[in-house]
């Protein structure tokens, strides 16, 4: 046996399952290397020009990557080649060995037990058996129930983050943290900040004929309220600026909406930011009471009911009610934005900024439809 050179000794220390042979004057190294507890069979031929590598079938897709790596790093010698290959495999092939999450498990269990001891007033609190999430139900000042699901994030620094919730709040307003209490306190803080908002929405649901949303949740910060057969209004509330005048939009023919808009213009200066918001909104639009749900049941047999979209002949499309209403007196036909847009595009209607303007299918007068995003 030839004497071992330094290179070979270094290799054997790092990759003990590789063997050197000499074939036709070329040094060849064959064997297996162990990356992330998986064995890969490799063969390296070393010549004056450098190393050429033969990869097993499961690694063939890395061949091009390796060649690029080889030329950029000017790899010389079998050890540096094998090192580069090992790094490449670690990089590209996810480890199949389960990651060790014991530390996080301990932290989750500790945080959870502290949490349940600290907040005795929770309605319910439940840690899923696989420690993946925590479901909490809390009662607010008015005994409303709020549910929140907190996910355990095993790959991040902040291991607790809110997964499911029902508040009119963007996700980025919710804190993630490595402390369960911080996450919860932030959520409970939002709930208590939103008390006047919940109260107002409940008032709408109690006193008005709300046609949308049908199944009202806390996260729905708008109400579409029935005023007449072809007239409704959408009130959109800014939950964190309750004293501000909300956005109000009337849907219906101009002849009916005009008087409401002029009412608003006349009363807008009387808006009292400190008053009861529900009553202030009624004063603003000039109503003493909201009209109640009409007694006459909607007939299912009629092909197109009032308020249905005249294109798809139904009221809900992807859960949305028709939002474009022809503004012309005696027409007031309704359309879903998507339906009307598709039709107006097909007849090459004019696009004006973010709207498309064409003819109402019913009265043939101008109608404008926002271009859906």
């Amino acid at each position: 046996m030839d004497n071992m050179d330094n290179e070979e000794i270094t290799m054997l220390l790092k990759y003990p399952m590789m063997r050197k042979t000499v074939e036709n004057g070329v040094d060849k190294y064959q064997g297996v290397i162990d990356v992330n507890e998986t064995m890969y069979k490799v063969c390296v031929a070393e010549s004056d020009k450098g190393c050429t590598l033969k990869l097993p079938s499961e690694l063939v897709h890395l061949q091009d990557d390796f060649i690029t790596l080889q030329s950029t790093l000017h790899l010389k010698g079998v050890v540096s080649c094998l090192d580069a290959l090992k790094n490449l495999i670690e990089d590209k092939i996810p480890s199949s060995a389960p990651a060790n999450h014991c530390d996080i498990y301990i932290q989750v269990l500790f945080e959870y037990s502290e949490f349940t001891k600290f907040y005795v007033s929770l309605k319910s609190c439940y840690l899923h058996h696989d420690l993946s999430k925590i479901s909490v139900k809390l009662l607010d000042e008015q005994n409303r129930e709020h549910s929140v699901v907190i996910k355990v994030n095993y790959n991040g620094k902040e291991i607790f983050e809110i997964l499911e919730y029902d508040l009119p709040v963007e996700k980025d307003k919710l804190k993630s943290s490595s402390s369960l209490r911080v996450v919860y306190d932030n959520f409970a803080g939002l709930v208590s900040e939103l008390q006047t908002y919940f109260q107002l929405m409940e008032e709408f649901d109690r006193s008005c004929f709300v046609i949308d949303p049908v199944d009202q949740k806390y996260r729905h910060n708008y109400r579409r309220i029935w005023l007449d057969d072809n007239l409704s209004m959408i009130v959109t509330i800014n939950p964190f600026r309750m004293c501000q005048i909300p956005e109000i939009k009337f849907l219906g023919p101009d002849s009916l909406t005009e008087s409401y808009y002029s009412n608003i213009n006349n009363t807008i200066l009387e808006w009292d930011a400190n008053g009861n918001i529900f009553i202030e909104i009624m004063k603003l639009i000039g109503l003493d009471d909201y009209p109640q749900k009409p007694e006459t049941a909607i007939e299912e047999d009629i092909l197109v009911n009032t308020g249905d979209c005249c294109i798809c002949f139904s009221s809900r499309l992807n859960d949305k009610l028709p939002e474009v209403v022809c503004k012309h007196a005696f027409c007031g036909n309704s359309y879903h934005v998507e339906c009307l847009y598709e039709w107006l595009v097909s007849v090459n209607a004019r696009k004006v900024f973010s709207n498309i303007v064409g003819q109402c299918l019913n009265c043939e007068k101008n109608i404008s439809c926002p271009i859906p995003s």
């Binding site: 047999d301 092909l303 005249c310 294109i311 798809c312 002949f313 139904s314 499309l317 039709w343």
Partner: protein, 154 residues
């Protein structure tokens, strides 16, 4: 009606309405239509007091999956094709709402009523003047014909 496209939902709704409350003189075979929602056969009867009184005709409706943005293809089929200045002997109908003037707000029901009224206002039973030439040269699909709508009286 879950799992249906808006187009299928609308056709289903139109079919139900036409079966339950058909306009006078119009009837649809729900079995044929339900087997294939895109292909309907509708029976119409000539109205009393018109040149077509007592006659029965069959209309074929073919819908594309772009309905109602796309108009249906409507032709007379069967043994009896009405003799009318706007109806060719191959069943094709010259009626503007079936092509250029189509609007998604129209429905199978309104198309049937338009055709009934077209028949009812006829004063003399005759084929269109270019019938022989048209029937020989036309496309099978009447929507491919470039129609000239010149006569509004019938």
């Amino acid at each position: 009606m879950a799992g249906m496209s808006p187009s299928e939902r609308r056709l289903q709704k139109e079919l139900m309405s036409l079966v339950k409350e058909p306009p006078p003189g119009v009837s649809v075979d729900p079995d044929i239509a339900e087997r294939n929602l895109l292909h309907w056969i509708i029976d119409i009867r000539g109205a009393a007091g018109t040149l077509y009184e007592g006659e029965r005709f069959q209309l074929q409706f073919k819908f594309s999956n772009k309905y109602p943005f796309d108009s249906p293809e409507v032709t007379f089929v069967g043994q009896n094709i009405p003799v009318h200045p706007h109806v060719y002997s191959n069943g094709h109908i010259c009626l503007s709402i079936l092509t250029d003037d189509w609007s998604p707000a129209l429905s199978v029901q309104s198309v049937c009523l338009s055709i009934m009224s077209m028949l009812s206002s006829c004063k003399e039973k005759q084929r269109p003047p270019d019938n022989a030439f048209y029937v020989k040269t036309c496309n099978k699909n009447p929507k491919k014909t470039k129609w000239w709508y010149h006569d509004d009286s019938v």
